[in-house]
């Protein structure tokens, strides 16, 4: 069963004076199945961020549809969008986006507090997640006191605590050193193996190679995709590199 269906997605930006139009997404079609771990790759300006913003309901498409778990995003009212995002989506950002006014624990609680959950329920949800992510010891600390890797794990915990249908990750390893990156990717794989659907936008071949499927976007269209299947991370890495080389040199894989 597919949890996310994107079809004919189009996004056109107008410059401020309404003169020139820029087509960020031309015609994007893909589906994500329940429990999949998908990476989206593409060069700067290929429309990755635009796509992610539309999937996150932060931005509205010019044309086409996005259906999340059977619900068309177009039908979600503007006023209900934030609640929809809170209930259905989890976010992991390159810059962690932890609020420095909160302790790690409170940062993780934020979406639940906004949803009006009781402290008891929040706490009982946090305990297993914190154990799995290995952040029990830093829960009472403030973001400025912990390392980048720890911050990103806290952010993952914040994304997971709402038990979202889909976790959207935007360059999650972009601000991490290689050890922390490896650890985060291992975590993603582990969380995914427990049934969590993840959609990750990334530049990093390494990050992409940990996923089950990689979509390549070029000039506002899905250009190509690779399934991991039974291959190892190393083989996947090689395949992705080859594809990227082709993309860069203008070859046509299709």
């Amino acid at each position: 069963m597919s949890i996310l269906e994107v079809s004919g997605l189009r996004k056109v930006y107008s410059t401020r004076l309404g003169g020139d139009k820029v087509e960020a997404l031309r015609n994007v079609n893909f589906t994500v199945e329940q429990g999949e771990y998908v990476a989206i790759m593409g060069e700067s300006g290929s429309g990755k961020t635009t796509l992610l913003n539309i999937l996150a309901a932060l931005d509205r498409p010019t044309g086409g549809t996005v259906i999340l778990d059977g619900k068309n995003l177009r039908d979600v009212k503007e006023s209900a969008v934030a609640a929809f995002r809170r209930d259905n989506l989890g976010f992991v950002f390159q810059e962690f986006n932890l609020l420095d006014t909160f302790t790690v624990e409170d940062n993780i609680y934020l979406p639940l507090v906004l949803a009006g959950k009781s402290y008891k329920e929040m706490h009982s949800r946090l305990v297993p997640i914190a154990a799995r992510l290995g952040i029990e010891k830093i829960l009472k600390k403030y973001p400025y006191e912990i390392s980048g890797g720890q911050k990103q794990r806290a952010a993952v915990a914040r994304a997971m605590i709402t038990e979202p249908k889909l976790i959207l990750a935007d360059e999650p390893t972009g601000a991490l050193d290689s050890r922390s990156s490896d650890e985060l990717l291992r975590l993603f794989t582990e969380v995914n193996s427990l049934g969590q659907t993840i959609l990750m936008v990334t530049h990093s071949v390494k990050a992409a190679s940990s996923s089950g499927r990689v979509l390549f976007i070029k000039d506002g269209e899905v250009f190509h995709q690779i399934y991991k299947g039974a291959s190892t991370d190393e083989e996947m890495y090689q395949k992705i590199s080859d594809t990227l080389t082709l993309l860069a040199t203008g070859g046509n894989v299709k």
């Binding site: 986006n97 609020l99 420095d100 507090v113 009006g116 400025y144």
Partner: protein, 676 residues
């Protein structure tokens, strides 16, 4: 590099940061303007013709010092906002290869540009408005005005000196700041990771205690003279206490709220409470400053307007009638019924032959001593006084005079007395004079003969109506010459109205008539004082008027300062909150939720100082009332009214400023999205 390079770079920097520079230049100009106006009023000879011009000049000179010190502190404060925002730019410059010296040169030119602009602007404004200020002042004094525009070179010179020095200090401060920081720290200074505020319980509690102590002092003070001393101590305590409470107490309070999980983890409280702790840490000082400024404005306006608009009531308390005659005598003979009738007949005769019969006339005789009150005993030896608050004036007034003036029919047995106390209270049933007589108090009076002397004197007076004045004098004979001074004063007061009431020549002629005709000496009176309400009124108006006027100008300065602090606070917070705003949106807060949370925080932060200022005023009320007694202002209802009106007007003004500046804040916060 060409010569024009640095000035151009500096001008560029100012233009690019005009959102922060423009208010700063306007502030400086405003301060220059106010200073010039005050100097102009202090140095000019606008008022040489008016009564009390010298007093007024002194008051304004004092005011100019206050403004000077305040401008210095305040401009440093606002300049620190500028520097905080500029450091990143300077960091970039030094990465690009500029040395500290080069940056210092840019800073120099920046300061020169800002200084020239604001001083020129301020002086133009000052010269333009000084005439207005002068006319306003002359009007307040009720004098005739001329409409010549004049410029005081002395005031300009002083303004240039003072603000030149202030700008020099600002430049020095900026240069030192750049000098002692590295390029990297300059680049990062704005986004340096912020530590969560620690709740400093000790400082918070100390602040609360200080405030409580100051309030206690203000409320318990009894005596105007003591009030004056205590007032300054209380002011200092309140200022320090306010800073402590705002900076540390508020953070501690937020932490306390966070400990309460049931309260804290609610959608409405969660974000607000935790960001409040940050906001208060960053803004505590600013908020405390606003609170202090607001309190100053309110105290200044409430008390000076009370004095000015209550002037008439002060004057009529002090001078119950148009003509107030006070005759002193050496012996009791002068105060005999016959002599009293004779001298009053003589005065009446003089008045009648000149302007017509005296109206509303009344007279009373009295014996006066002063001393310290100890329980229910008056100790005439002032050296034994333990506190100035215990000093009392005691008036003995014959029953016949009391009954005649008040139209009463009281009777008294020997040793009995009626008592009227004009302030404070006296609860005992007997009153005795140490080394003299004792009196049993038969009745306490609520109303009494109008006596300008007692309302003028800041000491509390005990008025005893005795059956026989001569008997009372005999009882006091033993202490008549205590310490070599005649302790006992015998006087006759004769007050009356005349029509019309401003006949200076006649009024001034009366004492001369009494001496020259020989009647004064013949009847045993030694001196004669005449006070005319019309003559005194001008003096009162010149003092109260100039106090009121300087109160208005000071309030304007404080207001400008408060508004500016608010504006800068909104801008700098807006920049800092941009990223937080974005994150919350991404994590799933609706714009409305964010706006509501921000709104509630802004409201709290904004109106906290006002609420606290109002609290300060409530507790300052009793002590200021006592201070107003020093100016003979004894009308509590009227002071309450001017205070109420001042607070209300200020609150309205404050709300308007909030409305205007909160838009700036929202624009800044949401500005980042438009640019993306």
């Amino acid at each position: 590099m060409k010569i024009g390079f640095y000035p151009r770079l500096a001008a560029d920097g100012i233009r690019k940061n005009r959102r922060t520079f423009l208010p700063f230049i306007l502030t400086c100009a405003g301060m220059v303007m106010m200073f010039y106006i005050i100097m102009y009023l202090a140095s000019g000879d606008i008022l040489s013709s008016t009564f009390g011009a010298e007093t007024m000049r002194q008051i304004f000179a004092l005011g100019s010092w206050v403004i000077m010190v305040f401008s210095g502190i305040f401009l440093f404060y606002t300049n620190s906002f500028l520097m905080k925002r500029r450091k990143k730019e300077f960091g970039l410059y030094s990465i690009l290869g500029m040395g500290k010296g080069n940056i210092a040169r840019i800073l120099f030119w920046e300061t020169v540009i800002v200084a020239v602009f604001s001083i020129v602007l301020g002086l133009i404004g000052g010269i333009a408005f000084s005439k207005m200020a002068e006319l306003g002042m002359v009007r307040i004094m009720g004098e005739e005005a001329n409409y010549r525009l004049s410029v005081s070179t002395l005031a300009i010179k002083r303004t240039l000196e003072v603000f030149g020095a202030i700008f020099l200090l600002l430049l020095l401060n900026s240069v030192l700041q750049v000098r002692f920081s590295s390029a990297i720290s300059l680049l990062r200074s704005e986004s340096a990771g912020e530590k969560p505020p620690k709740a400093n319980w000790l400082v918070g509690i100390m602040g609360v205690l200080l405030l409580a102590a100051a309030y206690w002092l203000a409320v318990t003070i009894k005596d105007p003279v003591e009030a004056l001393l205590v007032f300054f101590a209380a002011v200092v305590m309140v200022i320090i206490g306010t800073y402590m409470v705002m900076i540390a107490g508020s953070v501690a309070f937020c932490r306390l709220l966070q400990k309460n999980k049931g309260y804290y983890y609610r959608p409405n409280h969660f974000v607000s409470v935790s960001s409040m702790a940050y906001r208060m840490k960053r803004n505590g000082a600013g908020l405390a400053s606003i609170c202090i400024l607001a309190t100053m404005v309110l105290v200044t306006i409430a008390s000076t307007s009370c004095l000015y608009f209550g002037c008439e009531s002060v004057i009529s308390d002090r001078y119950p009638r148009d003509v107030n005659l006070l005759l002193r005598a050496d012996g009791m003979d002068a105060l005999s019924d016959e002599n009293t009738e004779d001298i009053i007949a003589a005065v009446d005769g003089y008045v009648k032959s000149n302007v017509g019969a005296p109206e509303n006339a009344y007279h009373f005789r009295s014996l006066t001593i002063s001393g310290g009150l100890n329980g229910n005993v008056i100790e005439p030896d002032i050296t034994k006084l333990s506190s100035a608050a215990d000093a009392r004036m005691i008036y003995f007034i014959p029953l016949s005079d009391y009954n005649a003036v008040m139209g009463e029919n009281e009777t008294l047995a020997p040793g009995e007395a009626l008592l009227y106390v004009n302030r404070n209270s006296f609860k005992a049933d007997t009153l005795s004079i140490s080394g003299g007589a004792a009196f049993r108090i038969k009745k306490r009076l609520r109303k009494f003969i109008e006596n300008g002397e007692t309302s003028m004197n800041m000491l509390t007076s005990l008025n005893l109506v005795v059956p026989d004045l001569e008997a009372a004098a005999r009882g006091l004979a033993g202490l008549a010459n205590f310490n070599g001074d005649p302790l006992l004063r015998r006087s006759l007061v004769y007050n009356f109205d005349i029509e019309p009431d401003d006949q200076e020549e006649f009024i001034n002629g009366l004492p001369a008539f009494l001496s020259d005709s020989g009647i004064k000496e013949r009847l045993g009176f030694t001196s004669c004082t005449l006070e005319s309400r019309e003559n005194e009124r001008r003096d009162y108006f010149s003092i109260f008027g100039s106090l009121f006027y300087i109160g208005i100008i000071m309030s304007l300065v404080f207001l400008i300062a408060a508004v500016l602090i608010i504006y800068y606070k909104q801008i700098s917070e807006g920049y800092e909150d941009q990223s937080r705003f974005e994150i919350m949106r991404k994590v799933g807060m609706t714009k409305r939720e964010i706006r509501r949370s921000i709104n509630s925080q802004l409201l709290t932060v904004f109106f906290l100082p006002l609420a606290m200022a109002a609290l300060h005023i409530v507790f300052a009320f009793p002590i200021i009332r006592k201070l107003l007694l020093l100016f003979n202002m004894d009308n509590i209802g009227f002071f309450a009214a001017t205070t109420g009106i001042s607070v209300l007007a200020f609150a309205l003004f404050y709300a308007a400023v909030y409305k205007l500046t909160s838009n700036t804040y929202y624009n800044t916060v949401s500005g980042v999205k438009e640019e993306q």
